[in-house]
């Protein structure tokens, strides 16, 4: 609980509609998309300007209260939880598009803007904002900046960091500064690059200058149907090896396609071992040729069927199926635990075999859907939280899968961030010296460690103490 006098001061600053202090209300802010981790915040405030954010941060600083920014709460690593009974600063009301400059191909937006709303606002002028997390219809640009979010189109277009030119930031002491700006190359340190992906520990972005891209002239979506996961994985490797750069390369396993089909009826085959979704975009000239090459590669890898979406409706349906995969799991399991590991693309068949073994060893089914093009896996551990030891076995599976990813030369997370969920796995990837270097950088921005503390870095007391582990509801809807 935050002291009543502080709540009063915040209310005087923002008005009662923008301060949430009732304990009966605050519980809705106790987790994000990952419900395994919960912590009830002290108070939630909703500023509307950078100046208000700065005043709130100064109050927090004066009172030595921890604070953390929250967007739409769609994150999947517990990154926006307030672990210390401090202040959640909800950026949701700062959701305006401040400026669009098509000549310079950029937009200046507030961090609470919903990702997809930016593309919707510029699409009639032939532009788009490229990073497209599967949660893009709800997640915010500010959250994307914090997590350096990717999406299916990361393969060709890169992650959020490749699309942010500059940031207005409230530093953890309440000072307002600009990092980067409106042009690509600036002298001095690349602090924009440092800030993007810092999981909210370096300050709070209040304006974001993002790159806009011209929408591709043509888009073509293909579906390859395979008997085995190995064949699908080898197809991906060969496509990349032959120098083709599709906009997206996504694989779903049989468990996933069946769940999706029961729900969306998108036209995925129910009996295939794996399906590969390929999207090409760019100039219309040459696209048919590329599609032919991909068809050939699929055939060489024993695809039993290769199909090209005939119209926009079929295309949308295939993508809706893909992006709804996580929701659809709700139909085949009471609970699931979403993982976000990365392996070098060439090791895909290997990690998939290992994941299967891990699942078998723990007696749990593991479904797979992943951004195959960049080796970003989303294994879904299916379990039933009502059976007591299943939750802990699911968590154990998760840990073993991530360890396997790291051992194959990969990483703990592709796009969900470390947050609280994976903080204790950090030593799998980083030496004590590596971690100390990162901590020193954090101290430069946040010397008294009030800005989103308790995240990213290992915390031996976590797991059952700083947050409560809740087996009740499954977490996470996408990737």
């Amino acid at each position: 609980m935050v002291e009543a006098r502080i709540v009063r001061e915040l209310t005087a600053l923002l008005g009662p509609e923008r301060v949430v202090g009732d304990p009966h209300d605050l519980i809705v802010y106790e987790c994000d998309g990952l419900t395994l981790e919960r912590a009830t915040p002290g108070v939630v405030v909703l500023p509307e300007t950078a100046e208000e954010v700065a005043r709130i941060v100064k109050i927090a600083h004066r009172e030595q209260l921890p604070f953390v920014a929250r967007g739409a709460g769609t994150g999947l690593s517990g990154g926006c939880l307030d672990l210390g009974g401090g202040i959640i600063i909800s950026m949701a009301r700062m959701d305006r598009i401040l400026e669009v400059d098509f000549d310079s191909r950029l937009a200046m937006v507030e961090p609470g803007l919903v990702n997809l709303w930016l593309t919707n606002a510029v699409s009639k002028h032939g532009f788009l904002y490229a990073p497209d997390p599967s949660s893009q219809s709800a997640c915010t640009i500010g959250g994307n900046v914090a997590e350096n979010s990717g999406g299916p189109h990361t393969l060709k277009y890169g992650t959020t960091t490749n699309h942010v030119l500059g940031l207005e930031v409230v530093l953890p002491d309440g000072e307002i500064v600009w990092l980067g700006g409106r042009v690509q190359d600036r002298p001095g340190y690349d602090l924009t690059g440092v800030f993007v992906g810092s999981e909210g520990t370096f300050g709070i972005a209040t304006k974001v200058v993002v790159r806009l891209l011209p929408a591709p002239e043509a888009v073509l979506t293909m579906l390859g149907v395979f008997e085995t996961m190995d064949d699908a994985g080898n197809t991906v490797s060969q496509i990349i090896r032959e120098g083709i750069v599709p906009a997206a390369l996504e694989i779903m396993d049989q468990l996933t396609t069946q769940a999706v089909e029961d729900y969306i009826h998108a036209g995925y085959p129910r009996d295939a071992g794996a399906v590969l979704l390929v999207e090409l975009d760019g100039p219309r000239a040459g696209m048919a040729l590329q599609a032919d090459r991909i068809t050939r590669i699929c055939r060489e890898n024993h695809a039993r069927e290769v199909r090209i979406a005939k119209d926009d409706e079929e295309r949308q349906k295939l993508w809706k199926g893909r992006k709804s995969a996580f929701g659809a799991y709700g139909r085949i399991t009471p609970n699931f635990y979403v993982m976000d590991g990365v392996v070098p693309r060439t090791r895909l068949p290997e990690i998939l075999r290992q994941i299967e073994e891990i699942g078998a060893r723990h007696g749990l089914r593991i479904a797979n859907v992943f951004h195959a093009g960049d080796g970003n896996l989303h294994p879904m551990v299916l379990y039933d939280g009502r059976i007591p030891e299943q939750t802990s076995r699911a968590l154990q599976c998760g840990e073993e899968i991530l360890r396997a990813c790291v051992d194959l030369g990969g990483a703990l997370t592709g796009e969900h961030g470390i947050g609280v969920e994976k903080q204790n796995f950090m030593p799998m990837m980083f030496s004590p010296a590596d971690l100390a270097a990162m901590e020193r950088l954090k101290q430069v921005f946040s010397p008294d460690n009030l800005c989103n503390p308790g995240k990213i870095f290992p915390n031996p007391s976590h797991h059952g103490e700083t947050t409560q582990r809740m087996p009740g509801i499954p977490g996470g809807a996408w990737i």
């Binding site: 509609e17 949430v20 009732d22 009966h24 209300d25 519980i27 809705v28 802010y29 987790c31 994000d32 998309g33 419900t35 909703l46 739409a72 709460g73 769609t74 909800s90 949701a92 009301r93 959701d95 609470g112 919903v114 997809l116 709303w117 949660s135 219809s137 709800a138 997640c139 729900y263 992006k323 709804s324 996580f326 929701g327 659809a328 799991y329 709700g330 139909r331 009471p334 009740g472 509801i473 499954p474 977490g475 996470g476 809807a477 996408w478």
Partner: protein, 428 residues
């Protein structure tokens, strides 16, 4: 000291715990929710509301002031259901929660509760009283009394919006003797029992007439069984037992009519009629009948696209179409009304921005929560005004009244009509 308020849901017709578990807490519903978009408070988002319901179910918080406020600020527009990848029936959860609130607590604060009770229990279940009220309202307009009380500012604030919502020049209400059977214009193709709906029938008689006209023109024999209010408003408010009584009356009447189809021109009524199967799922005497009843219910736009009238005359209008929530989200009917309008020669269909965002009408939400309703209405009118239509079309009486008021308030000329009114104009 124990906190006030009722704790935990009891077993009677409660929101089902298993259904709450279907929410995977992903948050995709947030940006789809009108109250979240306005307030940006997660308690007033679908995910947040389900979280609060779970908290009540688990005994973490009571059904008291905060919980009640968040449950009733929901429009029950079901936009979250369109956005949900997990297929959560949010409607059943929020309505079940309101049922518990009505049965186990003192309900809404202040005068709202007794007024709600009076209107929903004293007025809507009684068609005679509704007709009387409609007559009085017409008299109120033609006598000049409306102008007088408005100019003297005599209307209490709570009723002001209700007064403003009344369309000017109310038509006579449609009083077709119950049990009438109207033959099709051409060769018979189907038998449709017409569910007229309270509001359309009493305040928007031209919509009722147009519906009968286009159904007959398309080859339907139209039956008008004696009927009761659909009960949607009661369910929204949490008066589930009253709603069940109304549902049983309608089920008996319409099944006895023997019609293949049960047709309504009101998105709100249609959505509820299709939910009778859920409402009466635990009633051994009616569960099966409710299933049979709900399976036959169609929106008029579904029927006229299946049995379209032929040889249409041009209707040279620029028409902006607004998706009623209870058509687009509750029944997933988006194509048919547009197809119906596109069939009419000379008519230009205009797509507005976010056509399926709620206009704020939501049953009687606009009377209970006028501040939120007006915020949503303003946004809706902005998007309509941007396409400069000569008419606005939408298939729900509540939306027709609400958007009509919004247009008048801005001094915009375009009238709001039901799509079937335009089709009727095109029908010889």
């Amino acid at each position: 000291m124990a906190e006030p308020g009722a704790w935990k849901f009891d077993a009677v017709d409660a929101p089902e715990a298993d259904r709450m578990m279907e929410c995977i807490h992903c948050g995709l519903c947030l940006a789809a929710c009108p109250t979240y978009r306005e307030l940006k408070l997660e308690m007033d988002s679908p995910r947040g509301r389900i979280y609060l319901m779970r908290a009540v179910a688990e005994g973490r918080i009571p059904m008291a002031e905060a919980f009640i406020r968040h449950m009733y600020l929901c429009l029950d527009c079901r936009a979250c259901e369109s956005a949900c990848p997990s297929g959560v029936s949010f409607e059943h959860l929020v309505e079940g929660s309101r049922g518990q609130i009505q049965r186990r607590t003192e309900g809404l604060p202040g005068l709202v509760q007794p007024i709600l009770r009076l209107v929903l229990n004293g007025l809507f279940p009684h068609p005679g009283r509704l007709e009387l009220l409609a007559d009085l309202l017409r008299l109120y307009q033609v006598s000049g009394l409306q102008r007088l009380v408005r100019s003297l500012h005599l209307i209490p604030p709570a009723l002001r919006l209700g007064d403003e919502l009344l369309p000017p020049n109310l038509p006579r209400s449609e009083r077709r003797p119950p049990g009438s059977s109207l033959p099709p214009a051409g060769p018979p193709r189907a038998v449709a029992a017409f569910f007229t709906g309270c509001v359309a029938n009493s305040l928007l008689a031209t919509v009722t007439q147009a519906t009968v006209h286009v159904l007959r023109a398309g080859g339907c024999r139209v039956l008008v069984p004696e009927q009761a209010c659909c009960g949607a408003l009661h369910i929204h408010a949490g008066f589930r037992d009253v709603a069940k009584g109304l549902a049983r009356r309608n089920i008996e009447a319409f099944l006895a009519s023997g019609a293949d189809l049960i047709v309504t021109n009101s998105a709100g009524c249609g959505a509820e009629l299709k939910e009778y199967r859920y409402l009466l799922r635990e009633d051994p005497a009616y569960a099966e009948k409710a299933e049979a009843f709900s399976a036959r219910v169609r929106d008029v736009s579904e029927v006229v696209t299946e049995f379209p009238p032929e040889a249409l005359r041009p209707v040279p209008e620029r028409v902006a179409y607004h998706d009623p929530c209870h058509l687009a989200h509750a029944q997933q009917i988006r194509k048919q009304p547009r197809e119906l309008l596109r069939r009419i020669p000379g008519l230009e269909l205009l797509e507005i921005e976010n056509p399926d965002w709620c206009c704020g009408s939501a049953g009687i939400y606009n009377l209970l929560q006028p501040a939120m309703a007006l915020r949503l209405l303003d946004k809706k009118i902005d998007t309509i005004a941007a396409v400069r239509p000569s008419l606005v079309a939408t298939g729900n009486p509540g939306c027709i009244l609400q958007i009509g008021y919004g247009m008048r308030r801005r001094g915009l000329q375009a009238r709001v009509v039901h799509p079937v009114e335009l089709l009727a104009r095109a029908c010889p």
